[in-house]
Symmetry: C2
Subunit: 440 residues, 2 copies
């Protein structure tokens, strides 16, 4: 059995319990009613972007593929479902040989999306598809929220290095997935070793205030750090007096000191002063990293400051005000006879939670300069004359994953997709989605 790509530094034998109970009770009732095998199409989409956001960033697709492969039932899982009386014996029997055998298409990871974009489409029997709802949404809603925040921050950073360092502000495993999503969204590295271990993301980190406080003096601490980590290290200079710390740092390390880190105070002002001081001390190549409660707005406000890199924590791993997306997983079509045609279905009650029935395709319309002008969504087969760039790609065929890719591919795809959006996409101010979604 493969191991699940859940951001764990360990193997996960099964993802089958990352699931709301009602998925299982629905399977039981459908098995008994003889409707469990009806061919069904589920789609993942969002009715709206988080308020004020101009585009979404799809992340987590690679994790979804592993979660689907590892949605299996061993004795422990089946025993739990039996002991708790969650499903009956015929259902347990059916689950014991469960293996997703259907098809999954989706926007490739890193692609941007808009309201109504069918970012994932899962097709197979009702029972095999409905069980996957919860874990698919968990992954996409979390990872896409982080990637969207990361993308805004990486736009704002304008090419300066970005370090993800939010592990301590979110669940320890959520943090690993957050590092991964941040990387897709344009970050360069992470402080989180589990993310380095699991996904090969570059890791960084040198020291904290505790290290300075441990020693008898800041001078002792700096000397200990340089003795052990070398002159290329980053010294934290704001435990006591910044100017004195910078002087001591260069005195001990010499002008080859790698970097200094500033973690408090008025970063704009302090960065300018520290840069001037470093230059005066001859440490012209010593870099400045800032790390205090940054978000995309703070990063943008430091554009004119002599800062070389940003470390971002809380606001990144909490999605900068939008810690989740509102993606849903909806049945949009199903057959009523074994070989019958797919028929569109949709909820019809009053209120906002309606959706468009039918199996969808999607494409991005570009103008003559290659700038995106619209997200085109249609129901049914793709029109043969369609000239726009199709967005859905095949991910799983007959239960077999066909679209693995390195994380760097998703990262590069994101940067290219963002670059093809109208310029207003990267404005940080609140606005409408930068592309209209047109149903054809």
């Amino acid at each position: 059995m493969n191991t699940a790509d859940l951001g764990l530094p360990v193997d996960v034998p099964s993802t089958a319990l990352f699931t709301d109970q009602y998925e299982y009770t629905m399977v039981q009732a459908a098995l008994r009613a003889g409707t469990a095998g009806r061919r069904s199409v589920f789609e993942v989409f969002t009715r709206r972007l988080p308020e004020g956001r101009r585009y979404g960033v799809l992340a987590g697709t690679g994790r979804v593929l592993d979660a689907v492969e590892n949605f299996r039932f061993d004795a422990g899982v089946l025993g739990f479902l039996r002991e708790r009386g969650i499903v009956d014996e015929p259902t347990l029997e059916w689950l014991s040989s469960y293996r997703f055998s259907g098809d999954i298409w989706g926007y490739p990871e890193g692609e941007v999306y808009f309201p109504g974009s069918p970012v994932l489409r899962v097709e197979g029997s009702f029972a095999e598809c409905v069980l996957l709802e919860t874990v698919i949404l968990s992954i996409l809603n979390h990872d896409s929220a982080i990637a969207a925040a990361a993308s805004r921050m990486s736009s704002a950073a304008g090419g300066r290095r970005l370090i993800e360092m939010g592990a301590r502000r979110t669940h320890e495993l959520s943090a690993v997935a957050a590092s991964r999503a941040a990387y897709v969204g344009g970050f360069d590295s992470t402080s989180d070793l589990a993310a380095g271990f699991r996904y090969g993301i570059p890791t960084v980190g040198t020291s904290a205030h505790a290290f300075t406080l441990l020693h008898d003096s800041e001078r002792d601490a700096f000397r200990a750090q340089i003795d052990s980590l070398g002159r290329g290290t980053t010294l934290l200079v704001d435990t006591y007096d910044v100017a004195e710390a910078v002087r001591t740092a260069v005195e001990i390390a010499g002008p080859g000191l790698g970097a200094v880190r500033i973690d408090s105070g008025d970063l704009l002002l302090v960065a300018h002063r520290v840069r001037q001081q470093l230059d005066e001390l001859g440490a012209r190549d010593t870099k400045i990293t800032v790390t205090s409660d940054l978000d995309e707005y703070a990063i943008a406000s430091l554009a004119a400051a002599p800062v070389d890199g940003y470390g971002v924590g809380t606001q990144l791993v909490t999605g900068s005000g939008h810690p989740t997306c509102s993606m849903v997983y909806k049945l949009v079509a199903r057959a009523t006879a074994p070989d019958g045609p797919l028929e569109p279905v949709a909820k019809k009650s009053l209120g906002a939670k309606t959706s468009v029935g039918g199996r969808k395709w999607a494409a991005r319309r570009l103008d003559a300069d290659g700038v995106a002008t619209a997200e085109i969504v249609g129901v049914g087969p793709v029109p043969p004359e369609l000239a726009d760039r199709q967005l859905l790609t095949e991910l799983v065929r007959g239960g077999r994953t066909v679209a693995r890719e390195p994380l760097d591919t998703a990262r590069e795809r994101h940067i290219a997709a963002r670059a093809a959006l109208p310029m207003s996409a990267i404005q940080l101010s609140r606005g409408e989605p930068v592309l209209p979604t047109e149903y054809v």
Copy 2:
């Protein structure tokens, strides 16, 4: 080896990589400088509550105890640290026999806290304590954020049943910890099977709109569900027309129908209409559950509605506007000689990020009626004449966990601690912390 209580339905052999890289590089530099063994005291506290919140709720302590026990180094973890060049060979050697051997005291799980409350105190050598920073903060910052939101919701619900159903809105493992924290904060059950499996939390769930849409008619769907799950089930009545669905539901199930669920529309209005209709149909004992984008304010606004239970998703697992806490893990005292006295230390730079040095105790002052009036925090030994209720309890002694408890104990403790706060604690409106923190 015990397995880590990380909310996984699987064993986790090690928590050692849920750690920022700088914890390891600090250990390396301190080992080389001869300062790694200095006796040190780290404390976890927050400088402020989330804006407008009146109290915090500590959750995750049980998970911290397991994470500490399972902070170990196997060949895979050591190999990663070596190959990436994160630490040198002497450090790898030291890590290979790592086992936390110090002491941990803390507020017991479910207790309320305020700015400055020393909710956890970790004492031992610098090196063994500093390594635990990231994973301890991950757990406490995440779990306490969810528990605080859950507590407000459970106050607002006034004894009506609360179901946690946010798994699809957060990372799949964060979701399991969120279920646990929500239970501590007063929730009754969860939809998340992994939370039931891992923590024994009661699980619930029956069906979704997809089940109705799968079938040829709503009537067919209801019949299929009742045939399989019995009359005590909960039928979802808002896929098409609510009034027609309620009529069909009672017609098929009879007046013994367990419950109906409403997931859209004006819940106040719809709940009243559905209650009236159910009563007219003789289904007086059929309960009403509502589940549409609820938060503590929406729950409170339904206080006068004939609602029996609330299902809460997004706003619960994202902390209802505050998805993390701002807890920090700070070195507050250390010895400079092997058997020397602990000396208070604190960061002193300009800016808001200062802290109070020294090893602390804490107590809650109550008035004659048993109502809390202040959070008392002192440095040094507990005054022998102290009459207030001490808050720090022993959790780990010499590396051995001494304070395991069932999750229900934490839940009951929380409800009692909240009940002892001044009445204004449970106002949902924004306000100041309901207790002042007094340093003595």
